[in-house]
Structures are given as C-alpha cells and as structure tokens.
Amino acid sequence: MTVSKTMDSGAQVSVSTTSRARFNSDLPQVWIGIALIAVTGFLPSLLGNSYWVHTFHLVNIYIAAAIFQNFLFIDAGQKSFGQGVLLGLGAYVTAIFFGMHGYSFAAASLIGLFAAFLGGLLFALPALRVQYFHLGFVTLSAAIVFPQLLMSLDKWTNGINGISVAVPWIHHEVIFGLSWLTIMVAVYPMLALVVHYAIRNSRLGRQMRVAALSPEAARTLGVKPGVMRFLAFIIASIGTGICGILYLPAVSFVSPQGFNMEMSFLFFMAVVVGGRGQLLGPIIGMWIVFILPNVALVEYVDYRLLIYGTLTLLTVVLFPDGIVGSVERWRKARSVLGRGEKAFRIDPFLERLKNNTQFTPSDTEYAVEVRNGVKRFGAVVAVGGVNMKVRKGEIHGLIGANGSGKTSLLNVLSGLSRLDEGSFLINGHDATRMAADRIANTGLGRTFQTPRIFTQLSLWENLRIGLDASTTSPSEGIRQLAAQLEAEFGQDNAELLSHGQRRLVEVMRVVLKEADIILFDEPAAGLSQSERADFAKLVRFLSRNLGKSVILVEHDLDLVWGIADTITVLEQGKSVASGAPEALARDPAVQHMFVGGARA
C-alpha cells in the first residue's frame, strides 16, 4: 500500500517525458499564417501580376484589421461593430493632411494614427460603463454615423468627391520587383499576428482574457476589468489605424462610401467565419468573405453583402467555431485526452511547499475584522449588523442557513460589493471602501461557489493566472512549484476536469497567488466523502504549514467542526454566536441547527 502510494505520487510529480498533444495550436497557426501572408503578399509581385498585387495589398491590410478585431472580440471580449471607423479615421485624416494640406506623408500618418487612437478612446469610454449588446450598438451607430459625417463636414473632408493622393516613392522597387508598399503591407499583418500571439501569452493577455470571461474572478485576482477593456481598445485602435495609413497609398483615394458599415461588417464577419479566437481565423476568414465575392464572383459584386451575411449565418448555425476553429476542435477531440482521476491532484505538489515551521493562530493579531457590517439589496437586508474577528493564521468557519448572508459577507470582504453601514479591516487596515482589485492586492484570495475555470485556457494557464496576480516576486518554493505544474499540466485541457478537481484548481490558484487570507465559498458542495476528507487536510495544511488565515463558508457542519479553530454563526444576516467549536456545540443558539437538536 505504502509502496504504491509513493510510486503514485512519484509519477505525478515527475515531468512526463512522452510528448503530449498541444493544448492549443496558436504557435503553429502563427507560422502557417506568416507563410500564407508571405506567399500572397510577395508571389504576385515576383510573377509580375499587377491585378493580384493590388488585390492582395488590400486583402492583407484587411487581414491585419481583422486580426486586431479578433484580439478585441475574443481576448478582450469586446464586440465592436465599428472597426471600419478606426481604419477610416486613420486613412481619412492622413489623406486630409497629406493630400489637402501638403504635410509630408510621415507627418500626416502620425496625425492619422493619432485620430484613430482618439476614435479608440471614444469607443473605450462607453465600454467602461456598459458591456454586452450595448457596446455593439454604440459601435454600430458609430459605423452608421461616420460616413454621414464625412459627407456633411465637406469643408474639411471634400465631401462626396473624396480625396486623391499620390505617394510615388512607396511604389518604387526595392528588391526583386517588390515595392516599399508591397513589403509593408505584407510584413504588417505578419507583425500583427505576432503581436496578437505575444499579447495572448503575456501576463497582460491572460488577465485580459480572464477579465473578459469572468469580471468578478478577475477583480478578485487584482485585475481591473475596465482598465483591461480600455487597453484592448487602445491597442486595437492603433493597430487598425496603421491599416488605415497603409490603405491610403494602396488605394490612392478615399471617399465616404469607402468607409460605410460594410467595411466594419467585413472585419467582424471574417473573424466569425474564420473561427473566433483562432489566430489563423482572420486570414482564412478574409480570404473567404472578401476574395470569394470580390474576385471569384466578380460579376455578382452587387451580391457581396448578401454573401457576407449568408456565409456568416451559415457559419453560426452549422459550424459555430468557424473554419479554423472546427479543425482545431476536431484535432483536440482526437488528441487531447482527459486523465481521469490523475487529471489534477494537489497534495503531491503541496508536499514541496512543506517546511518544518509550524504555525499556530495568533492570539493578538487579526486578519479580518468586521464591525457592525450592514449590506442591503433594495429592501432586502442581506447582512444586518455582523461582528466578526478572524485571528491571523486560524481557520474560521462561517455557518448559517441559506439566505443568512454568508456569501453576501464574503462578497463584501472580497470587495465585490460594499457595506452600506459599518466597516471592516484587513490586516488592521480599513478596507471598507476599497475596490476588489485593491483588496486582492493586499493579499486576499477567494474561491467561488461555482469554480471559475476557464476552458479556453490550458490547465496550467488556469493556475498561472494566480501567479500573475501575485504582487511580490514569487518565493523560491512557489517558483519550483510553478515549474512542476507547468511541466505537468502545460498542455492539459481544463474542460475535462471533474467538479472536485475544479475546486482544487481554484485552491491551487490562490496558493500560487500567495494570498495570506483565503476565503472559501462552500468548497465541499458537490465533493465526495473522500474528497471532503482530502479537502479538510488541505485546509489544515494551508493554515498550519503555510500560516494562512482561512474563512470557510460551508454547510457541511461535520467538516467545519472538524477543522475550524473558531466558528461564527449567522442567522438572518446577524452574527448570533461565535467561539471555539467545542464551546459552540453546547450553545443553545446553535443547537437547533443540528439534526435532532444536538451535536452528537
């Protein structure tokens, strides 16, 4: 028995040497994308086919714009129907200063880029307040209004006549029949692709994705979702503005009709048809939605909106993942396998953190202190005058019937909602008015009733967002732990985890965050008996071996009585009793909570 156990944990911890299928194919997609852009961008010039040279100038500029749309739409979760406006601002403002006022192309481009940046700011402002379809309508309205404004403000824009420009040097041959323009419009989308990949795999990119998928979870990990959206819009507006600047010499002419809604739709639809979130998606998508109607079916050019719309509708109904996404899904279903019980276990890893220090709860210092806290939702009083003291390093059980205000209190402590009256302190500092991300950064971590597991991220990335949230550079133990976890779970699919495993992933995330106060919201719900026992050991370990303070909201009273140092009882939003488990079990205020009226 002992032998097999050692072997078991040994196998868990060792780096698996057999090569496993990639969790996602982002990196290969980048290489394929670069190759495809290189072929379409350079080959027509090398062959001297000027029709295809011109067509792919435009296609590759649009691909770059769609790449930024893809980033904004999926990585940052912002549904913008107005990216054509940003491209139009870059192109038009550059044309105005270059073509009408005689600025140099470089200077005019900078002004154009700045205009696109301002446009991005205007989109980002409402995005700070509202989400979901509201933002879709705001950006859609912008796409409707933009060409109208270009027409009406004819004093500055030349109205319906548009602006013609000539940038002779940009068409001169540099090498092998390639002009400056050809090189720039081919290299730029490649660059955009690399930028998208780099952001997605950075700390910023992961935090953006978490903020898009679950704003509450992001806030409890120290991320401000508003800032993430804002940054995403700024990045996308600059990226799309550059597309506008390249558009100008490629087309040599701008007019209001060139920047109507159709352009914004084109970028959006290319992303959907190609495959939302797939790095290669915008390239394949743009080839289909743009080249098909504009080149292959050129005699039906009037039908192109109908074709965009139909392709998109068919994609959503038949292949919701888009073309690249469907291929990717098929690959994953074939090769990325679940690992059953072994998919995620926490104890062999925590062994590594074990040291000989034994912590005991402090008698004088408090991790959390709530003073007469009141929280109302309209007329409903969820928390009505709670007093609670959580000693540093202790396990503090918080129990009470459904609706007694336990989760509301946790939400207050983690900053997701605010007290209407009273105050609370974290580590002796007033935190009553602190935002969730600041509270998280003072060293508080929490789990949720429904675990926040992000299936778009690999299992390791799901853990890594905890490490990303750490405010100090990680300790040696955590660094080693992280390296092991990465080696073990780098390519694993979090979607295949069981419910109990998902809970453990959330716990490990908080451990990696190095939070010293951990809030658990009904962690044992849905766990089996043996999982509960393991979980109790884990909480014990966190408190006694790592010195963390734990607040445990739980309905399983046996579990709470087994591990808690102190228990607070809530009833109808009030704290009615608090004390050590043994003493509390005899308290008449608590007796009625047990079956039969007394704890066995």
Binding site: V138, S141, Q148, M151, S152, G309, T312, L313
Partner: protein, 292 residues
C-alpha cells in the same frame, strides 16, 4: 417661432412613436429570450414595402385588410428568423451567437431588398388625410404612429398581464429555468414572442410608410434609434419606451431643424452614449443584485 416649436414637438413625438414601437418589439423578444434582434429595423422597413406593393392608393377597407396581412407576413418572417437564431442556442455553450446571427440576418434582408428594389426610397400615398395642429399641416400618418404606439402599449400590457399565454411569456422573462421546470414549452413561447415582435413592426411599418423613407438602407437607422429609445426608457420597460421614443424623436427633429438633417443619427448616438454613461439602466430600468 411658435409654429417651429409646434412642428418640432409634433413631428418629433410622432417620429419618436415609431422608435417606441420598435423599442416595444425589442422588449418582448428580449424578455423571453435575452436576445436583441438587430434585424428588427429591416423588418420594420419591410412593413413599409408591404404598404407600397399591397396598399398604395387603395380604399380604406382594403388598406385595413392589407395592414393585417403585412403584420402577419412580417410576423411569419421574424418567427422563422427567430427559429434560426435560437437553433445554435439549444446546446452550444456559446450564448452570444445571437448577436452575430441577428446581425447577419439584418445584413441579408437589407441586401435582398437592395438587390430586388434598388437603392431608391419609395413613396407611399397616405390613406388618412393630413390635418392641422397649431396651424401646421401635419401628415395623417403621424397621428397613426402615435395611435399605434398607444394601442400597442395597452395591447401588450393586457396581453402580458391578463392572458395565459402572456403570463407564460412574462414567466420565462423572469426566470427561464423555473419556467422550464414548471413545464412551460419555453421554445414555443419564445417563438411566439418573436412573432408578436414581428406583428408590431410589420403593422407599424405599414401604417407609417407615407412618412418614412421606405428604402433598403433605412433599416439600420431605425434599429439604431429604436435601440436608443429602448435604452433611454430602460431595457424591458414598455412604459419607458413611451418616454424614450418621443424623447429621441424630438432630439432628432431639433437636430434636423437647428443643425441639419444629416446630423440626426449623430445626435441619437450622443444621446445613447450620454445615457449609458450617466444612467445605464435607463429612466425606468431596475438595478439588479449582482450574482456571484
């Protein structure tokens, strides 16, 4: 001066009633499904086309009959569109595919109108004669618009509160899972909500055809202004649309008179951004407790 104010207010309220009607059609579908149908603007314009092809220069009885026909035709089309929109929601985890599919439906409908009818604005003769308000000649269709808004407001109120079917739809807007658990045929009720929204815009587009631009590219503008009216009133509140619609209409008229007709949509966009920044839940919207 006084007549100018009268024109702005009367026409603004009348145009705003159209926005309010579109807003009500948004609300019933949104309540039952959580979907805001981007194609609603083109569906409305389709009602206008129905008036042009079925009821131009006809007598009143035929006109009334055709209004019902127009409503039923558009209702059938919206139901079909709703069915397609709800298809991927049956199983997929992706819950916002409707933003894309209703947008695609809107583009398809606009493109079909453009291909078959060309980019022209069609003129429809009014059956109801014009009348004078504060000495200003006002097309009869403006009165119809206001009348239709009031009619549909009370009709929906009665339907949602007093009929079994309406109560069932109200139930799914409050708690979809509970309604399903209680045995309500949720999918069928959602399609009925789509049908009612089609009935609203189909009849509304038909009634006001003489005073709107019946053209393939008008749909987007109506869907935008209808949405602004919805947000101003508070998403889900039909009472709010009675205020939101006319307010947006008056702002549009004021802009047209004082600055220029081509700035109307810009004014609506600014109203939208302003209300979202200041009071995102709208005038009559409710704030809901956060769910964690």
């Amino acid at each position: 001066m006084l007549s100018e104010i009268a024109i702005i207010v009367v026409r603004g309220v009348a145009i705003g009633s159209i926005f309010a009607l579109i807003a009500m059609s948004f609300n019933i579908v949104h309540g039952a499904t959580g979907i805001l149908n981007f194609a609603q603007g083109n569906m409305f314009v389709l009602g206008g086309f129905a008036a042009f092809f079925l009821a131009n220069q006809v007598d009143v009885s035929w006109w009334l009959l055709m209004m019902v026909v127009s409503g039923l035709l558009v209702a059938a089309l919206v139901t079909f569109q709703g069915w397609i929109t709800l298809l991927p929601l049956r199983s997929a985890v992706e819950q916002d595919s409707w933003i894309i599919s209703t947008m695609a439906a809107s583009i398809i409908l606009g493109a079909i109108l453009m291909i078959t009818q060309g980019p022209f604005a069609y003129t429809v003769q009014s059956v109801v004669p014009s009348f004078r308000v504060f000495g200003v000649r006002t097309p009869g269709a403006y009165a119809l618009a206001i009348g239709a808004m009031v009619f549909w407001y009370f009709a929906l109120r009665f339907f949602l509160r007093k009929t079994l079917l309406g109560l069932a739809i109200s139930a799914i807007s409050q708690d979809l899972d509970a309604a399903r658990a209680a045995g309500l045929p949720v999918r069928r009720l959602q399609l009925i909500a789509f049908a009612i929204s089609g009935l609203i815009v189909g009849t509304a587009g038909f009634l006001v055809a003489p005073v709107i631009s019946v053209s393939p590219d008008a749909g987007m503008r109506y869907v935008l202004n209808g949405f602004v009216a919805t947000v101003v009133g508070g998403v889900g509140s039909n009472l709010g649309t009675l205020i939101g619609g006319p307010l947006v209409g008056v702002v549009a008229m004021l802009t047209a008179y004082k600055i220029g007709g081509s700035y109307q949509d810009l004014a609506s966009l600014l109203v939208l951004v302003l209300i979202l920044m200041v009071r995102p839940q709208g005038l009559f919207g409710r704030t809901t407790a956060r769910r964690v």
